[in-house]
Symmetry: C2
Subunit: 340 residues, 2 copies
DNA sequence: CTGAAAGCGCTTACAG
DNA sequence: CTGAAAGCGCTTACAG
């Protein structure tokens, strides 16, 4: 293999200094047209590419953003990553991804990312990461290098982008209520998760707002996956006075619930109406097509990337507005029907 | 913020040279226990983290592997990425991800990744990338820095890891055949895709092997998505002599097909048996649960990472064995039934 | 086992 | 607009 050419080689070929080559590449307008042309020609002739490590060392930045994903396996995050990637690539940042499901990064690791120059910024999709782990010795988190997206850490001052979870649940309850349902239950997400909490709280608030009461058994413990949905169905089937409408904290939960209800001879939506949350791609194809709360996850990713970019540039559009809450919409399909 | 400490600070605090600090950190056994202890103490005291850019520049490596994903949005790749990430993280490599759906990297960009020191190696999941774009001026691709996973580029010498697509299709046909079906059609993936081609070829070969003939209309053009499945259903419904069994090139295709057949009053599996390919998570939950070909995508990701690591270390387990073909298995569920 | 010193390949004040 | 030179923070032969 030919030796990789360096800026020195280009300078020699173009008959200029390395400074001029560097300038031509990073700020072409600081250089005369004539010089620019010959440098660019020399760059091509030597098939020169700037060495990232050298540039990074010199400029003290890495040109990379690290995203901490709760689970790469979960397709829910695919769209968010896609939105992030698109915007970051457009701003010439590399996207670095770490899955936090197996190895939870400790405080030391978290600090290393930023202080070791692995990444210029962090997008945290895992709301279980935060608090003391992100605190600096001299107080406060890396306020201008970190952002939460989708999930967040309660009480943190770190900027974040999220969906309006409470509004989503309210829309679901409104929908069921309009269909005549009054006995409405909520299958919760995993305990301790910020999204679960926000949705559960949303459920309680919205039910109260509508003057709908419900027994404590109507708050069914769950998780975000199919199996939890199945288990929830079994729990609900055992109730003396079962609900006719169920709002689930995720679509997968709803799928599992519907499948298990079916296995016990109950039909959705004929016997029970079910609403999901997320509107993952399969919601539309599922039988019955799932009524659910649509989150624009690509947009969420995009907004997160933009916010981080602003924060890194130290130019948040509005300093007070560092929590971006995106609206969600109910998509009515076939898993809900009028109470009969 | 306190100034970030550097190796010089640690050296001073420990009363040794920077060389010794460096050695303590990268090869602790080259240093006396006493020295090691005091250096480590100084590291903690100064909360020192090595500067990646400096290390990378000096060692001429980036410590990162770049994965080129056809579409981050497609949950199919989630598991592969997950497998990759786990192994790479374990080997202390960062995982860099680029989505190639919007911007196809050109030859220059591809070369930059490696020659600019952005990444030490490339995992290409997008089989449409290859050929001339990866050729070096002095011949041959970067044989020891690149690997294909899942997809591949026909005719390349670059090592690859893939599923046994032909075997999967054969298993599907065997299965339908055992159920008494003889009129079997194939809904293809997108034209020109290596996986589509491999599966289509597998279909033709296996049908011939079983002495099953079929009209050309039984090779239905498609794509990997739901909509293509719906369209395929409409095509099939128009046939004078429709098939009783259909092998799809992907699960999504099968979902769309089944949904649209249902919309036209045809039941799966009562009227038509359908087999998918991939075994994505939803296959099990779909109604009817989908009979499909299971690919272990996490394992595929893991194997790809391991192979790349070997290739980078220049120690492929067996030099001739640079194409790893992973077996797949048929999972029989409820979308297939005996011919009535 | 340890240290002094060179050098990885850039960028950027500084001076002209 | 251009060049000479310093320096980013490490690692690693080399010598002892």
């Amino acid at each position: 293999m030919n030796k990789r050419s360096k800026i020195q080689d280009v300078a020699k070929a173009a008959g200029v200094s390395t400074a001029t080559v560097s300038r031509t590449l990073s700020s072409p307008d600081k250089v005369s047209e004539k010089t620019r042309d010959s440098v660019l020609k020399a760059v091509r002739a030597t098939s020169y590419r700037v060495n990232r490590a050298a540039r990074n060392l010199r400029t003290q930045r890495s040109g990379a953003i690290l995203t901490l994903v709760p689970s790469l396996r979960n397709p829910f995050f695919s769209d968010i990553l896609s939105g992030l990637e698109r915007v970051l690539a457009g701003a010439d940042y590399n996207l670095l991804i770490t899955d936090t499901s197996e190895v939870r990064p400790d405080s030391n690791t978290l600090h290393s990312y930023l202080e070791g120059g692995q990444a210029d910024g962090l997008v945290i999709l895992d709301g279980s990461i935060g608090g003391a782990d992100l605190e600096l010795l001299n107080g406060g988190p890396y306020a201008d290098q970190i952002i939460y997206a989708c999930e967040w850490f309660e009480g943190t001052t770190v900027p974040s982008v999220r969906s309006d979870n409470a509004q989503g649940i309210e829309a679901a309850i409104d929908h069921l209520s309009e269909l005549g349902h009054t006995k409405i239950a909520h299958v919760c997400g995993p305990a301790g998760n910020v999204l679960s909490d926000a949705r559960k709280r949303g459920f309680m608030v919205s039910m109260a707002k509508k003057n709908l009461s419900y027994p404590v058994e109507y708050l069914v413990a769950g998780d975000f996956n199919l199996e939890a949905g199945r288990a929830a169905a079994r729990t609900i089937l055992k109730l003396e006075d079962p609900p006719t409408g169920v709002v689930c904290a995720s679509d997968e939960l709803a799928f599992g619930l519907i499948a298990e209800l079916g296995a016990h001879g109950l039909s959705v939506p004929d016997d029970v109406s079910v609403v999901g949350f997320d509107d993952i791609e399969m919601a539309e194809v599922f039988v019955p097509a799932l009524t659910t709360i649509h989150q624009d996850r690509i947009e969420l990713g995009r907004r997160a990337a933009k916010l981080l970019l602003e924060v890194l540039a130290d130019t948040p559009a509005d300093d007070s507005e560092t929590t971006v809450v995106l609206p969600v919409t109910l998509v009515a399909r076939n898993s809900t029907a009028p109470l009969t």
